[in-house]
């Protein structure tokens, strides 16, 4: 190796590759950091820009040319890639923006019968939940920690102003809003992130993204989350802590009437 050019060639030929799982995990952190500092002031750029453009005909022409080029490049560069990779931050963010949903939860423990619970959330942050013979009503827009409990068959008040049941608290923490990150953090292990699980390139994998936890204590098969690639909505969350399992199914298809979330309407039916 004699000349600077040869060293330069050696520099260029020295390749580096990256681990795709870590790529996603780092990208996830980057997107979360960006999300936390989303800048509402960016809209002010538009009027500023308009003032500059309107100053002279030359800049008007140049701006028009730039816009045409930008549109072409934008269409080519972004539209083909926008839905190709989905990271956990996208799914978590999308879930928090959903106005209403229904979650069915199955909890299986050794030597006990599988428990089923259901949660519905209305567009105005009211919650109705069923667990065994109990019906829970709570209103996150008022008091996010209290709920009213009724007996499902007799429709009589079991207890007023009770604390939220644990299966709801696991989903919404103390903040009174449903969050997938709160759910993943509620498990007693060091979950350092949620990353895509590599799956075979099948027709299903074109529609669905599968995620796993990045944690020493949790093997890849012990926590899985399925999300729709296109809408980025989670559809299933499965975790096996110790010997049991918790399986959540998410449904966004049916919006319940306001009366469904009203304790008064429930007792008068």
């Amino acid at each position: 190796m004699k000349s600077a050019d040869e060293i330069k060639k050696f520099f260029k030929s020295a390749a580096i590759d990256t681990n795709p799982n870590m790529d996603e995990a780092v990208l996830n952190k980057v997107l979360i950091a960006n999300q936390k500092t989303t800048n509402p002031k960016s809209a002010s750029i538009v009027p500023k820009l308009r003032r500059i453009i309107m100053k002279s005909p030359i800049t008007k022409l140049a701006a028009a040319a730039v816009i045409v080029i930008a549109v072409f490049i934008g269409i080519e560069q972004f539209d083909t890639n926008s839905s190709s990779s989905v990271v956990w931050a996208d799914v978590a963010e999308r879930f928090e923006s959903v106005p209403f949903f229904n979650i069915t939860i199955y909890v299986g423990e050794p030597a006990t019968k599988t428990k089923k619970m259901e949660i519905w959330r209305s567009e105005d942050s009211r919650i109705r939940a069923h667990e065994g013979n109990k019906v829970f009503f709570t209103d996150f827009s008022k008091d996010k920690n209290k709920c009213t409990i009724f007996d499902r068959s007799t429709k009589k008040l079991v207890n007023g102003d009770e604390n939220l049941p644990s299966f709801i608290r696991r989903l919404c923490g103390n903040e009174g809003r449903f969050s997938l990150d709160t759910l993943t953090k509620s498990f007693p292990s060091d979950v350092k992130g949620i990353i895509p699980l590599e799956t075979a390139d099948t027709a299903a994998s074109n529609e669905i993204v599968l995620f796993r936890a990045k944690a020493k204590e949790i093997p890849p098969e012990a926590l899985k989350i399925w999300a729709l690639r296109k809408s980025k909505l989670p559809i299933r969350f499965f975790v096996t802590p110790d010997d049991g399992y918790i399986d959540l199914f998410f449904d966004y298809s049916e919006q319940k009437d306001a009366s469904f979330f009203d304790p008064g309407a429930f007792t008068s039916q």
């Binding site: 190796m1 004699k2 600077a4 060293i7 330069k8 050696f10 520099f11 260029k12 030929s13 020295a14 390749a15 580096i16 590759d17 990256t18 681990n19 799982n21 870590m22 790529d23 995990a25 780092v26 990208l27 952190k29 980057v30 997107l31 950091a33 960006n34 999300q35 936390k36 500092t37 989303t38 800048n39 002031k41 960016s42 750029i45 080029i69 930008a70 490049i73 934008g74 560069q77 972004f78 890639n81 926008s82 990779s85 990271v87 996208d90 990045k214």
Partner: protein, 181 residues
């Protein structure tokens, strides 16, 4: 260049796909640069991750007019310099810099996967003084001019050219002896 400006523009307007594209476009290049500068994969990964996180948090400060690649490269170089300075402050043992031998054993969550050539280059670079190494790397791999490097190192262009010549000569002799083995 036009694509980068468009990406920055979109990123400043809150487009997350633009940020994703910037990350995908430059992550390998920045990792390679960091590995050449610090000769430690784990530190290089941390630095590049910090740079991207910092970049993601500073949408309002970034100017769409600037050169994105050079901006990110400068961020990596500055961050490594800061780490080196912090480390030297904490250690009085006279260790010259951040160098560690590159391990052949891949960590389970290792991000960067080095080719043999890059490992060889990184080990060779570790044997030349940091300032010369930085000049050679930023010039050869980062495509920066001596004037731009002079700004980063806060030195004159002549000094930078001298560091480049010395660094290149040393690197050449190290690589030649490595290849002869």
């Amino acid at each position: 260049m036009v694509e980068d400006r468009l990406l920055i523009w979109k990123f400043k307007l809150g487009n997350r796909d633009a940020l994703r594209r910037i990350y995908e476009k430059y992550k390998n290049e920045l990792l390679k640069l960091a590995v050449a500068l610090v000769n430690d994969v784990s530190t290089a990964e941390d630095v590049v991750q910090d740079v991207f996180v910092g970049f993601a948090q500073s949408a309002d400060k970034i100017q769409p007019r600037g050169n994105l690649k050079k901006y990110l490269i400068t961020c990596v170089a500055n961050r490594i310099r800061n780490r080196k300075r912090d480390r030297q402050r904490h250690e009085t043992s006279g260790i010259d810099d951040l160098d560690f031998a590159i391990s052949d054993v891949n960590r389970p969550e290792q991000w960067a996967i080095l080719s043999e050539e890059l490992a060889l280059l990184s080990n060779a670079m570790a044997q030349i003084p940091y300032e010369q190494r930085e000049v050679v790397t930023l010039y050869m791999q980062g495509g920066m001019t001596f004037r731009q490097i002079a700004k980063i190192q806060n030195a004159s262009v002549n000094t930078i050219q001298g560091r480049y010549r010395y660094g290149l000569n040393k690197l050449r002799s190290i690589l030649n002896s490595e290849i002869d083995k």
